[in-house]
Point group: C2
Chain length 231, copies 2
Amino acid sequence: MTGASTNELAQFPRPSIAVDVAVLTVTDQGELGVLLHRRTGDKAGTWALPGRFLRERERLADAVERTLDEKCDLPSLALDDRTPRQLHVFDDPDRDDRGWVLSVAHLLVLPIEHLEPVVATHPDLTIAPIRDDRAALPGKQRQLPYGQDEIVARAHDELRRAYRETPDPERFLDSEEFTLSELGTVHFAILGNDHWAVDTFRRKMSRQLHDTEKQSRGVTGRPAAIYRRMR
Amino acid sequence: MTGASTNELAQFPRPSIAVDVAVLTVTDQGELGVLLHRRTGDKAGTWALPGRFLRERERLADAVERTLDEKCDLPSLALDDRTPRQLHVFDDPDRDDRGWVLSVAHLLVLPIEHLEPVVATHPDLTIAPIRDDRAALPGKQRQLPYGQDEIVARAHDELRRAYRETPDPERFLDSEEFTLSELGTVHFAILGNDHWAVDTFRRKMSRQLHDTEKQSRGVTGRPAAIYRRMR
DNA sequence: TCAAAAGTGTTCCTTATACACCCATGT
DNA sequence: ACATGGGTGTATAAGGAACACTTTTGA
């Protein structure tokens, strides 16, 4: 922005800014899932993406972190180094019936191991599987409020693009070391049946990983080679 | 956003919202360029991306359009159907010394034919070529204000991704019909020396275009086949 | 006739895709 | 031993890269 005087800055009404975050994970059933919380207040009981209003001079990423802490009992510790990615600014002035609100949608990927404990202990949290590019909500609710379904769709799109060529760039896998089939579970959850040929996958990904020379143990079937991320 | 009462909405201070737009074009010299305007006011004379503050209940895309109209004499007519794409929200609270301002960066592609007339008649407008991922500014100025260099870099990145596989998806070319070398000029300006093999380019792109069976005329050298976008 | 630009054909690769087949473990 | 999942080898096809060569125009 340029060319405005200090007067001009104060001259216009300003919108409230919200952050919404689609926290995505791959469940134990190998499904892509999104973290939802049950709302309180006048629309109590319905599920929605976690979100908060931006505080004075707060960074967006910090607001996202605070949202997860305050709404989902996920302290920044659980995020270890992960930063939310901006997806889109939703700017329809009639989007929120409480007033003029711009919402900045974010994507954050967390391993299921970080989410499971808090979701298990909080009845107002759930992980909804994403099917046909929508969150499959529990109960009768069909869609998320405030056009949040679009956020989920955009998040999924981003991941599809990122996971076509590169091994787990967003770190759904908590561990630094994993087998190709563990990696495959994640990619399969994101990319689905198409674009996932076991054979090609193996060759494409192993090329981009470092072979630790270790083997998985204790599983049924032949032990798998354990790889590590490069660099 | 969810769960906030009407009270909560008014409770927090709100930032000013600005839109900045990187209008990109390919110049007659086959260079990628960005539209800049000379600022007035206390920092008069320096070049910057066009930008404006968001007005009450205004859509971001509308604010971008208004910016171009008010700052650059580019009425929405000149945009014909083109919509700006969001790139990123810059949220550093100290980014703007006039106060707390969030800036939503946008990318808009315009054919040089739309820009040349206004730039030629406005001394406070220029098209700066982009070299080494930066706007090469005229005069002594080295960088754009408010970290706008990053906006230009992000815009260029977006284009690189889009132009690797697909023929002119953002419509740098004004006409619906063009030869492969006209198309090549655009892709070359964006992708540079690497990632641009004449030969592969021809095969990859012609596959995705419709051959009109027409030939270019009046040029030196053999006339070229004229293609049209598919669908 | 020559320069300039467009376009084709061929060869050599790399990589996707698909199978067939062998390997190492738990039960 | 056999079921189960892991991994290799080979054949085919498609596409990228490089290069030589032909075609069609303007000057």
